[in-house]
């Protein structure tokens, strides 16, 4: 599974990359929503899941989620946030967010969340 990690914190992207690569995932890291959207605009992006921080300058995770939904309706987006307040959760879910992880999260928690999304994708494919 190939994952696009989006966070304005370079260190955060790198540390998530370390954690996920060690679990066998392919990981691409970018530092803002625009870079993410540019990457996803490529036809051969090969990304199966986007993990984005919520709080980023200029374009936040919610806006990225909306942009992804527009151009890649089936591509799941997982949002990371240090402040999972209810309104944010509800808004994100309404916009088709596949899941949330609250910081700080462990590699296992993140991987469990990724697995859950993966299962849902497989189930969706099976149902179709």
């Amino acid at each position: 599974m190939n994952i696009l990690v989006v966070d304005d914190e370079i260190m955060m992207v790198e540390s998530i990359k370390i954690g996920l690569i060690s679990k066998g995932y392919g990981v691409v890291g970018v530092n803002n929503a625009q870079e993410a959207m540019d990457f996803l605009a490529r036809e051969d992006h090969g990304i199966d899941l986007v993990i984005t921080d919520y709080l980023m300058p200029i374009t936040n995770g919610m806006d990225l989620l909306l942009a992804v939904r527009k151009d890649n309706p089936t591509l799941p987006v997982l949002i990371m946030t240090a402040y999972a307040d209810a309104s944010l959760v509800i808004e994100a879910l309404k916009n088709g967010c596949a899941g949330f992880v609250e910081k700080p999260f462990s590699r296992e928690q993140l991987v469990a969340e990724i697995n859950r999304i993966e299962q849902r994708l497989l189930q969706g494919q099976h149902d179709r």
Binding site: M11, E14, L55, Y83, D85, I90, K103, F105, Q109
Partner: protein, 663 residues
């Protein structure tokens, strides 16, 4: 927005009004309730401050003393300066840690791979195959050595037999000497007697000359045989002794060398097994490293969380500044109420933000401490792994050789022994060939003597005939002729004895020689094959040893680099200490402010109730703890367990997973 959404909004408003938290770049909804500007906050703080409303009778108490607003404003101002620095204080160092972590991760992964390669070299199929080859070669060598020992023993036995047989021909050879002496006497007598009978004796003079010639030949031949016999006996005596000693020495060496080699191969197999088991240790260490790195990754998230928390504190405290400047409380309110409201607001905000800052700083401190601890653990585990690998390499047994060197050394000893045994065998075969040749030569001489004896017999017969023709005058010559005939008969008997003995010697030597020369050729060929096979195996072992040494050196080098790097990194990390020092200064200021504020006006019931509600309902675990902590400090009961989700029970495969809390 539906009813649930409204409810959540209300709760968020309530929370925001008290906590004054907001995101670093908060969304519009959150911005509305940061810095104590939410509608509920206004309601709770100014319940009795609506324009025109009279304060309740119970509130008609003496006005509180004047708060030290200027001092609070100054403290807040200096605290904000520190907090703004604090919000960015972790950036550089965490970036450095993140960058270092990449290097550590790669180094640890490389080290795990090197360790795995090393284990594979020392325990893989290649070693199994080489051990099997060694065992086969060793078995062949053992058989070979047994055969050469048996063969060399046969040589020694044959030499002893030949030595004994050679002694048996000593008497007959002595008989030839006596016969020569007797023939010489008879020759002289014939000459005398033939002189006595005058003309008739002329024939006998020629006869005597013939006897003389043959006697000389017998003498020469028997002397030659004697010389050969003596030489042969000396050679056999000398070599039997040498061969016997060599056999005894080699016997001991063979035993000890074979035992040593068997031991070293067993050690090789033991090492092979140990390295195989070490494979799981390497895998476990790699897993542990991965887990430690995962924990570090988790801890590093506190940088972002800490910064956001500090920014929230900044925002909340900044919200107080206009109030302290005297322009935010409703101008319509009576002065007393305004002052009390200000004191309460300042007290509430400072108490909450002090708790928030303490919590954030402690969380950061613990996270950084955990990073250092996890890094140290990685370093320790890699050192342990390197030590295990080194111990299993067999390089610490004091000999300075690895188990592979030991095997090579012992196999080389066996090869030397094989060469030595083969040389002894070859020497003994050479001696045996010499014995056989000499015996054949002696046999030739014996045949010559036998021929001479036959000639003498003819001469004797001729002498008798001639003597008979001389009548009575030749009677004495007739006697001499008969005597010569007797001597010739004795000669025949002696040659028969010697011939039989020599045949026996020949049979012994030639049979053994035939056996051993064909066997020796076979053994030589086998020796060459064994040496070739062993060389190939030892070259493969040497290559493996070289690979092992190289990988060991790499492991040591990589461990040293990694642990050195970790020591350098952990030694340089002080962001947690630095941040705590800065935060402590702010915390002290805030504590002073809210202590003064509470002394002037205790925390309101509404504030306490808000805390309890937030502790029970706020979505974020960290802030819930903060509110719960403050609520307890104000004598409120610990929060009741949070209500389960109103909808379906949450399961691991619920639609939104465990991380989404829908209240």
């Amino acid at each position: 927005m539906n009813a649930a959404g409204e409810g959540i909004r209300s709760l968020m408003d309530l929370f925001g009004s008290i906590l004054g938290t907001g995101n670093r770049r908060p969304p519009p909804e959150r911005q509305a309730h940061t810095a104590l500007r939410g509608p509920l906050a206004a309601d709770s703080l100014a319940a009795d401050r609506r324009p025109g409303a009279l304060p309740p009778a119970t509130d008609r108490t003496p006005p509180p003393p004047e708060p030290p607003i200027a001092a609070w404003a100054a403290t807040l101002s200096s605290s904000l300066v520190i907090l703004r620095r604090l919000a960015g204080a972790t950036e550089r160092e965490f970036l450095q840690i993140g960058s270092d972590m990449q290097a550590i991760y790669l180094r640890a992964a490389t080290l795990s791979q090197t360790a795995q390669d090393l284990v594979e070299v020392a325990s893989g199929d290649r070693v199994h195959s080489l051990i099997a080859q060694l065992r086969q070669i060793l078995a062949e060598m053992e058989t070979y050595l047994e055969q050469t020992q048996v063969q060399n023993g046969s040589y020694c036995t044959a030499f002893a037999t030949v030595e004994k047989l050679l002694q048996q021909i000593a008497d007959p050879l002595e008989g030839f000497k006596k016969m020569s002496k007797n023939l010489y006497i008879l020759e002289v007598l014939i000459k005398i007697e033939s002189a006595n009978i005058g003309e008739l004796g002329g024939e006998f003079i020629n006869l005597a000359l013939d006897i003389n010639t043959l006697t000389q030949q017998i003498k020469d031949k028997s002397n030659t045989i004697q010389d050969h016999r003596s030489l042969l006996a000396a050679i056999i005596a000398k070599n039997s002794q040498v061969a016997g000693a060599a056999l005894t020495t080699q016997e001991g060496l063979i035993r000890s060398t074979l035992d040593n080699t068997v031991t070293s191969i067993a050690e090789l197999e033991g090492a092979n097994q140990r390295f195989f088991e070490l494979g799981s240790t390497v895998a476990t260490t790699a897993d542990d490293n991965s887990n430690n790195i995962s924990k570090i990754v988790q801890s590093m998230q506190f940088h972002d969380i800490f910064r956001q928390q500090v920014e929230h504190v900044i925002e909340a405290l900044e919200g107080l500044q206009p109030a302290l400047a005297g322009n935010s409380i409703g101008d319509q309110d009576p002065a007393d109420n305004r002052i009390e409201a200000l004191i309460n607001r300042v007290g509430d905000a400072c108490e909450l933000q002090e708790a928030q800052l303490q919590y954030a700083t402690t969380a950061l401190y613990m996270a950084v401490t955990a990073i250092i601890s996890n890094l140290t653990e990685i370093s320790g585990q890699q050192k342990l792994l390197a030590r295990d690998i080194y111990n299993n390499s067999g390089l610490n047994n004091g000999t300075g050789r690895s188990f592979i060197d030991d095997v090579s050394f012992h196999m080389a000893s066996i090869t030397e022994l094989l060469t030595s045994c083969a040389a002894t065998n070859s020497d003994l075969a050479g001696i045996m060939a010499e014995v056989t040749d000499t015996v054949e030569t002696i046999t030739g001489f014996v045949a010559d003597i036998e021929g001479i004896g036959h000639d003498i017999n003819l001469i004797a017969l001729n002498a008798r005939i001639k003597a008979a023709s001389t009548g009575a005058d030749g009677a004495s010559l007739c006697v001499l002729a008969e005597e010569i005939g007797h001597l010739s008969h004795g000669d025949a008997q002696r040659t028969d004895i010697i011939t039989a003995t020599l045949r026996e010697i020949h049979t012994t030597t030639s049979t053994l020689f035939a056996e051993t020369t064909s066997g020796e050729a076979n053994l030589s060929a086998r020796l060459i094959d064994m040496k070739t096979g062993l060389n190939t195996t030892l070259v493969a072992f040497a290559q493996m040893g070289s690979d092992l040494q190289s990988l060991l050196a790499q492991v040591q080098n990589q461990v040293n680099t990694l642990t050195g790097e970790i020591e350098r990194i952990t030694g340089a990390i002080n962001v947690h200490q630095h941040c705590r020092d800065m935060a402590d200064e702010v915390v002290a200021g805030l504590q002073q402010i809210f202590a003064q504020a509470r002394a002037l006006s205790p925390a309101s019931a509404a504030f306490k109730e808000d805390l309890r509600l937030m502790a029970n309902r706020y979505t974020m675990e960290s802030e819930r703890k903060i509110h719960e902590g403050i609520a307890q400090k104000h004598g409120l009961l610990a929060s009741t367990p949070r209500a389960p989700v109103a909808t379906s029970p949450k399961t691991a495969d619920s639609e939104f997973g465990d991380n989404v809390d829908l209240f």
